[in-house]
Amino acid sequence: MPDATYPDDLRYHEEHDWARIEGDQATLGITWYAQDSLGEVVFFDPPEVGSAIQKDSSYAEVESVKAVSDVIAPLSGEIVEVNDVLQDSPEKVNEDPYGEGWLVKVRLTSPEEAETLLGVEEYRKLLDN
């Protein structure tokens, strides 16, 4: 497993999720800290394409051998794509949480919500506490 990393071009949610915002779309995933706490991911149960997700609410589940964890939406939107690679290789969430281990892509319905997310420094501070 790689060392703790928190890219500075991402926005973070205090429930340990990240968003990579590109125009009116965003890619979402869980942070290094989240995957490390959970342990080896063995199952990702994705939402359906076309379904709506609500900021601060659970939109999917990731499971390790021992535990199940809700994934909290950092932003509101409509699912436009889910990462199919994770069906056969859920371990990508551990190996590359910001790359191949992304979870879903959404079309943002309230782009202004991005203002409420944390920058990398704020998120690191949260982890230090």
């Binding site: 199952f43 149960d45 021992k66 199940v68």
Partner: protein, 354 residues
């Protein structure tokens, strides 16, 4: 509470969790790696949180025969036997191994969460017998070394001969008296070492050096679940009798043990529910407490569920209505609102390749 090996776990970067009041390692590198190390090579578990109780005296056999469900008279000196400790209603207070150390001397190993309750029960029941019940949990650190290569690595590293399966011997380990028991909780060959706490750290380090993989409680749980060993608190409780738990084989009612009348009745009349093993068909991971469904009707509940690393699918054990407890029967597991098709499977779920 901490075991003598606590510092070693922290040093190895283990994730530490509370287990029955003990700060125990749940995993080091990862549950899957540790699980597969035990299936393919050799792993070691610090199980020093488990309790030990010594029973000694001219009435030791008569006393144990009264409290343990199995036929204790069958244990030879140096032998071991699995039993349930039942209350009058046949409810399971604990499940445990009894080892016969000498003519009138036995050791029983208790589950950490039940140690105090067991001691209280044993102390109370021993009053009418010429036997002394002694809490010796502080005298031992306990290490389970399990896997197809466990014996060869241990014998080479410690320079001792190990007892066969279900036997116990008492060699010196680290120049201190120790017990080596041919038992385990993984479905693999291996032994459990009861060590002087003073030498637990050097022995642990020696075994680590010899390539035995440190394993946490996480892998211990997935390993035992794949071979359908019950866990007290999940499959077993004072609300369940050994018959419905599938432990009728270790109950010898003819010995007249406490609870034997209730057990005999359950055996003769059958029970409303039975413990079964199941596998999920397709995706989904069952968890403890998930309802077992047939159509709109709940027909049981999951007692232990996990992703089973050797099977590479979700699997578990559940109590279901006895009429449905047949291998091959199709049910659904309600995993947090999603119905996951499952099939009742034969035990064990994982059979060792020989």
């Amino acid at each position: 509470m901490r075991t003598p090996l606590y510092e070693q776990h922290v040093h190895l970067g283990a994730k530490v969790v509370d287990f029955a009041g003990w700060e125990m390692p749940v995993q080091y590198e990862g549950i899957r790696e540790e699980h597969s190390a035990v299936r393919r090579h050799a792993g070691m578990f610090d199980v020093s949180h488990m309790g030990e109780v010594e029973v000694e005296g001219p009435g030791a056999l008569a006393f144990l025969q009264r409290v343990l469900s199995n036929d204790v008279a069958k244990i030879q000196i140096g032998g071991a036997q699995y039993s349930c400790l039942c209350n009058e209603e046949g409810g399971v207070i604990d499940d445990l191994f009894a080892y016969r150390l000498g003519g009138d001397r036995y050791l029983v190993v208790t589950n950490a969460a039940n140690h105090d309750a067991d001691l209280e029960w044993l102390g109370r029941q021993s009053r009418e017998f010429d036997a002394i019940v002694r809490d010796v949990a502080d005298r031992y650190a306990m290490l389970a070394v399990q896997g197809p290569h466990a014996r060869t690595v241990l014998e080479a590293t410690l320079g001792i001969e190990l007892p066969p399966r279900f036997h116990v011997s008492h060699p010196q380990i680290g120049r201190r008296p120790a017990l080596t028991c041919g038992t385990g909780y993984t479905g693999e060959d291996g032994v459990e070492l009861l060590l002087d706490p003073e030498v637990a750290v050097p022995i642990w380090c020696e075994l680590l050096e010899a390539g035995i993989v440190p394993c946490g409680l996480g892998a211990r749980d997935t390993l035992r679940l794949e071979v359908c060993y019950p866990l007290h608190g999940n499959e077993l409780s004072t609300e369940r009798n050994p018959i419905e738990a599938g432990l009728g084989w270790c109950c010898k009612e003819a010995t007249g043990f406490i609870g034997s009348e209730a057990v005999a009745r359950a055996r003769a009349e059958g029970t409303a529910e039975e413990l079964v093993a199941f596998k999920i068909d397709g995706q989904g991971i069952p968890r403890e407490g998930n309802p077992v469904m047939r159509g709109d009707e709940q027909v049981g509940a999951v007692t232990s569920g996990t992703y089973a690393p050797s099977l590479e699918l979700g699997a578990g054990m559940a109590y279901v209505r006895s009429e449905l407890a047949e291998v091959g029967a199709e049910v659904e597991i309600d995993v947090r609102g999603k119905r996951r098709p499952a099939r009742i499977a034969s035990k064990p779920l994982y059979a060792k390749r020989s």
